[in-house]
């Protein structure tokens, strides 16, 4: 593992050398900070309706001199404030679902790869079966049946997303299992459980971290699709997907209702992807310096 304890400054200095890494971490930091302190810096109340000023275009100034940088929606709510408020759901869904999926997938893959044999074959067939249904379709079907809502959605995304981790981790375990240091650990008389958790797990977990970064982006996109289709988070919770679903109704007259939430999603996912690219190169010493 390239990361040593007590070396955050060293990590930062390596990060600073990569433009992609810097861009990614900046975007992700801004979104996370907005999710936490959004209500404090938000120019207007994201839920405040103002029917008189509905459908006002970007740059609109109302009678009392309030400025609406990105315009208003069909109920006169400020789009910029709503985008800030929406970051909260994206961060929450992205982080929590990925933690659930990652934990489940790593345990499953670790066990499957470590035990091997018929157990491994059966466990991997199950993963193959689940992977054959495209992720978003599976999630759409389950949320259609179970019903929508923020916490349900997080659980659904978490409990369907683990298969990718299971497959990747299992592959890594198969590689690591045959390494000399693992054989040496056995030779020193360590138990199977100790070998699995102390010697194999730490050497495969970096793949899970890289994958998790990618999956945060995938999950944020999935949440926005589901909320857009009316199968995800419900109003009055503000999410970018729901804003797009509102915008779609007025697509011929109020383009700003559709344009800006989508830009917010794109920038956020781009930041996550960049950070993930950098993490992959950073955690994989074979790749580092080559890119």
């Amino acid at each position: 593992m390239p990361v040593r304890r007590g070396a955050p400054l060293r990590v930062l200095s390596i990060l600073a050398q990569s433009p992609v890494g810097v861009a990614g971490s900046l975007i992700v930091t801004v979104v996370v900070v907005l999710a936490f302190i959004g209500p404090v810096i938000s120019p207007h109340d994201p839920l405040n309706r103002n029917i008189r000023d509905r459908f006002k275009p970007p740059g609109f100034v109302d009678q009392s001199g309030n400025f609406y940088s990105l315009g208003n929606d069909q109920l006169g709510r400020d789009i910029f404030s709503r985008i800030i408020a929406g970051s909260r759901v994206s961060v929450l869904v992205g982080v929590v679902s990925v933690l659930i999926a990652g934990t489940l997938g790593v345990i499953y893959g670790l066990f499957s790869g470590f035990v091997g044999g018929i157990v491994d074959s059966v466990m991997m067939r199950i993963v193959d079966g689940l992977l054959a249904i495209p992720f978003i379709i599976l999630v759409i079907a389950i949320s259609g049946v179970v019903g929508a809502g923020l916490s349900t959605l997080i659980l659904i995304l978490g409990f369907t997303g683990w298969t990718t981790y299971a497959r990747v981790i299992r592959g890594e375990v198969l590689k690591v299992r045959a390494m000399e240091y693992v054989i040496a650990a056995y030779a020193l008389g360590q138990s199977r459980r100790k070998v699995m958790f102390l010697h194999i797990l730490p050497n495969v977990v970096h793949s899970a971290i890289v994958l998790a970064a990618v999956q945060v982006g995938v999950t944020i996109l999935a949440e926005s699709s589901l909320s857009f289709l009316g199968l995800g988070v419900k109003p009055p919770t503000v999410t970018w997907g729901l804003m797009l679903s509102d915008g779609r109704q007025y697509i011929n007259s109020a383009w700003w209702m559709t344009a800006f939430p989508g830009i917010a999603i794109t920038i956020t996912v781009l930041g996550v992807v960049f950070l993930g690219d950098w993490l992959r190169d950073f955690l994989d010493p074979n790749v580092r310096g080559r890119a």
Binding site: M124, G129, L138, I142, L229
Partner: protein
């Protein structure tokens, strides 16, 4: 590079490299895998749709009496034990009978077949757009590595991957339908109707494929045989087309197969943005009215087509790699 799902088994992807592949054995093992995978999928799909509890209460109108609900439950077979319901479902599904749609009162299979053509058309058009854009751009990007052109192409590709496809679709509607008024935004009544949805999905496909094409080409361009080809005085064009691309095609085809999953998934949302009458929109419509038999059949269809397309890609793979020969 993501490991190949073992739907591929010990196929040409990993263990079979450099060895002969027995044609009959190849197909028999694939069919066996298909049966096992579809069995697992059928269990998953069957139980997912019962997560909601009683499927009858979902579709029965409010004014129904308990007696009428019981009658309905008996009619649809929901009064039987769960295991028995599953076996009945599988027995019928094998013969192509997925049950009747609660809503349309017609076989679910019929509804799916009606929509299948539209879905295939859209998927084929999007894949074609994706490939024709991504492969040349990916190759050029690799050849001009670290140039401004490379930077632009890789940035566009990251952008295309990060963008929600349905949002791109909405933006295209705003530009080409609402403002320029040159392309239809909804339905499939005119031949031009396919342009916006297929461009929407094609852009996402191109973004994902060009990235892989670039890295596959970069890998191949570093190989000894490419250097040899250069040093024996071949033209750049010949080296790229005859020596490098032929070998880079193998990982490109693999990634194309994996991205088809994205295409199928994306099509569900994009079809509903453009009211394109395909399988995806049928699914969304059926989910919103809880027409579970159709959802069930649709899920099985998506899984089956994903697996079959990937098997077809396995065959293409073998044709592309002369080291793997049928015996």
């Amino acid at each position: 590079m993501a490991p190949l799902p073992s739907l591929w088994g010990k196929g040409p992807g990993d263990g079979g490299r450099g060895m002969g592949v027995n044609l009959r054995g190849f197909f028999i093992s694939r069919i066996a895998q298909l049966v096992v995978t579809m069995f697992i999928i059928s269990v998953v799909v069957f139980f997912i749709l019962r997560l909601s509890g009683d499927p009858i209460l979902v579709v029965a109108p409010d004014f129904f009496s308990q007696e009428q609900i019981d009658q309905m439950r008996k009619f649809w077979g929901f009064d039987r034990p769960l295991g028995e319901q599953y076996l009945t479902f599988v027995r019928k599904a094998i013969t192509g009978d997925f049950g009747k749609s609660y809503l349309a009162k017609r076989p679910a299979m019929e509804l799916i077949i009606e929509r299948l053509g539209y879905s295939w058309l859209l998927a084929a058009a999007s894949a074609a757009i994706g490939l024709t854009v991504a492969v040349p751009l990916g190759i050029l990007s690799a050849l001009k590595r670290n140039s401004l052109f490379d930077l632009i192409i890789t940035s566009m590709s990251s952008l295309g991957t990060a963008m929600p496809s349905f949002w791109l679709g909405l933006m295209l509607i705003i530009i080409f339908s609402a403002h320029l008024r040159i392309l239809p935004a909804y339905g499939a009544l005119q031949p031009e109707s396919i342009i916006l949805p297929s461009v929407t999905l094609g852009v996402g496909m191109a973004a994902r494929l060009s990235r892989m094409t670039r890295s596959a080409m970069l890998e191949v361009l570093n190989q000894d045989y490419v250097r040899t080809a250069h040093s024996k005085g071949l033209m750049q064009k010949t080296v790229v087309m005859r020596h490098a691309l032929r070998n880079a095609l193998i990982p490109i085809v693999t990634v194309f197969g994996l991205q088809l999953g994205w295409l199928l998934g994306g099509s569900v949302v994009v079809e509903s943005v453009f009211s394109w009458p395909g399988l995806g929109r049928l699914m969304i419509d059926s989910i919103s009215v809880r027409d579970n038999t159709v959802v069930q059949a649709g899920l099985l269809f998506f899984a089956l087509s994903f697996i079959l397309i990937n098997y077809a890609i396995d065959v293409i793979y073998i044709m592309l790699d002369p080291r793997i020969k049928f015996q």
